[in-house]
Amino acid sequence: MRFMIIVPASGETEQGLSGTEQQFADMQAYNEEMLKAGVFVDGQGLHPSAKGARVTYEDGDWVVTDGPFAEAKELIAGFSIIDVSSREEAIEWVRKWPTSCVPDPGQALELRQVYAPEDFADVLTPEMLEREEQMRAEAARNAARG
């Protein structure tokens, strides 16, 4: 089963600082450990919210607000995806997160399970499920080409 570890933003990440050499090395070692344990799937960092935008739907129209966004604790700075055998194992991997890279006080690393297509079996009709799968297949092909 796959889990996403969601990393909250901080003052530093919002300034576009990618961290110290030490933090980088610690994070690399952590990812390598997960890779060598066969659980690491993906990990990405996000640019500061200043380079992003928020798009809201108000009074029947879309309103685009450019970043940065002030409330840093609602922002995320990156994510990792891991493939593990249980929720307990996912938690234990998060507990190995490098202490030099822990979120600011009051902030948390968030662990969320990624849906697998069969999780929707009870909600969607077989036709909807099929379309969903077709769409995902197409997206994966695009990603493979890219």
């Binding site: 060598k36 066969g38 055998s85 307990e88 234990e92 799968e133 995902r136 297949a137 994966a140």
Partner: protein
């Protein structure tokens, strides 16, 4: 032995709830899956005996099982397990020194000196953990062991599965698996198998033995999924995980990436292999939207790596890479009609020379029929029939088939071989 002084700081889970014994057990099993290989490998490096190392690692696991529900889960569970196993190993080494010196004759100084050396060995082993783990994988898959023993030992020492889990996966009893593992450990001890990574001419056959074990585990799970037995399907995931571990530890080996790609592509079809009423669905009839495309993407990347690495060697692509390449031909086709059969035929031809087998010839014959739309004039069919007859001891009939195949064969070398077989010479 008292509780480890350096890990008395027990778990302070943020929610502050008491942790139930069941939760502790589940956490310990999860931690064990993450740490078993490392704990066992480090101890094996120091004590020099894989069987003894597995015993000591299991002792640490049992101690955790007793202690964690009472004292709480350590802040660093992996480090706790390693240092517990380390202490047990050093106790054991001290005892052995005493026994060797018939207790009284060895002075306390000698005992301390040996213990100090062992501590230094541990630090060195910890610094070289990747090689330790890789060496342990090679030991668990040692050719001195039967295939069944290699599988059980690998799942236990590398996968961190319990005897109960292994028994359930293989539809057998815990004592059966327990005995299999004990016998395997004894064999490794008797043969003096260490966790050295094989090199030179030894490497290829030993690596092949490792890959065979991983693929056997995978196939056990793959076969089980067609019987709607999803528990045993976990073996597929376990095999893929082992494949990913190997790919990370031996990044330059094309066959390792080839096997990983092969397993991932096959696993990607799991949901499409069974129809609504539980009936098996053949590859060409499968609903391709039901394939796991994220897994296929992974697999194609692994196959690319394997191909790049292989083209840099003089030996050419190995059997796993070729099988993965064949599987990838299907994965790349949007519909069954879009399959590149001539490519598949070419790959089967290469596979047939790397690993000759009537099954591969038969598959090749089927692929040719799809590529050309004509099977009747193809020499592989009588050739396969001849092969099977020869295996049944029906030699006269087999020779007739080989002669017919020789008439149809286009390739000179192939015709010569078939003629020799028709004459009963090969």
């Amino acid at each position: 032995m008292s509780s480890p002084a350096d890990h008395t700081d027990t778990d302070a889970r943020a929610d502050g709830h008491a942790v139930s014994p069941d939760d502790v057990q589940r956490t310990l099993e999860a931690v064990w899956r993450m740490e078993a290989a490392k704990v066992t490998a480090v101890v094996a490096r120091v004590v020099g005996d894989v069987g003894l190392a597995e015993d000591l690692a299991q002792d640490a696991f049992v101690q955790a099982l007793e202690q964690w529900p009472r004292d709480g889960i350590p802040t660093k569970p992996g480090a706790w397990l390693t240092s517990t196993a380390r202490r047990r190993a050093i106790d054991r080494i001290r005892r052995d020194v005493n026994l060797a010196g018939k207790l009284q004759q060895v002075g306390r100084t000698e005992e301390l000196r040996v213990a100090e050396l062992a501590e230094a060995d541990f630090d060195a082993a910890l610094a070289d953990i990747d090689d330790d783990v890789l060496g342990l994988i090679f030991a668990a898959c040692h050719p001195a062991l039967t295939a069944q023993a290699r599988i059980s030992l690998t799942l236990r020492m590398i996968g961190g599965l319990t005897t109960r889990e292994i028994a359930r996966a293989f539809l057998t009893t815990e004592p059966t698996i327990g005995q299999r593992i004990s016998r395997a450990k004894r064999t490794l001890s008797q043969d003096g198998v260490t966790i050295e990574i094989p090199s030179g001419a030894d490497l290829a056959p030993r690596l092949a033995s490792v890959l065979e074990v991983v693929y056997l585990v995978f196939n056990e799970g793959y076969a089980a999924t067609s019987g709607r037995d999803w528990v045993r399907g976990d073996l597929m995931e376990e095999a893929i995980r082992l494949g990913r571990v190997l790919a990370a530890l031996t990044p330059a080996e094309p066959e390792v990436h080839g096997l990983l790609a092969l397993m991932e592509i096959q696993a990607s079809r799991t949901r499409a292999r069974i129809g609504r009423d539980g009936e098996p669905v053949l590859l060409l009839d499968q609903d391709r939207t039901k394939w796991d495309w994220a897994l296929i993407r992974h697999a194609l990347a692994a196959l690319d790596r394997a191909t790049t690495l292989s083209s840099a060697t003089s030996t050419g692509p190995g059997p796993y890479l070729l099988q993965a390449a064949i599987a990838a031909c299907h994965a790349r086709a949007r519909t069954a009609d879009g399959t590149d059969w001539s490519q598949i035929v070419a790959l089967y031809e290469r596979l047939g020379t790397v690993r000759p087998s009537p099954v591969i010839d038969l598959n090749r014959a089927v692929a040719v029929s799809y590529a050309d739309g004509a099977l009747s004039d193809y020499h592989l069919l009588p050739s396969v029939r001849g092969d099977l007859l020869a295996r049944l001891g029906r030699d006269a009939e087999a020779r007739v088939e080989f002669a017919r195949a020789a008439e149809m064969a286009q390739n000179e070398a192939e015709r010569a071989l078939l003629l020799r077989r028709a004459a009963g010479e090969a």
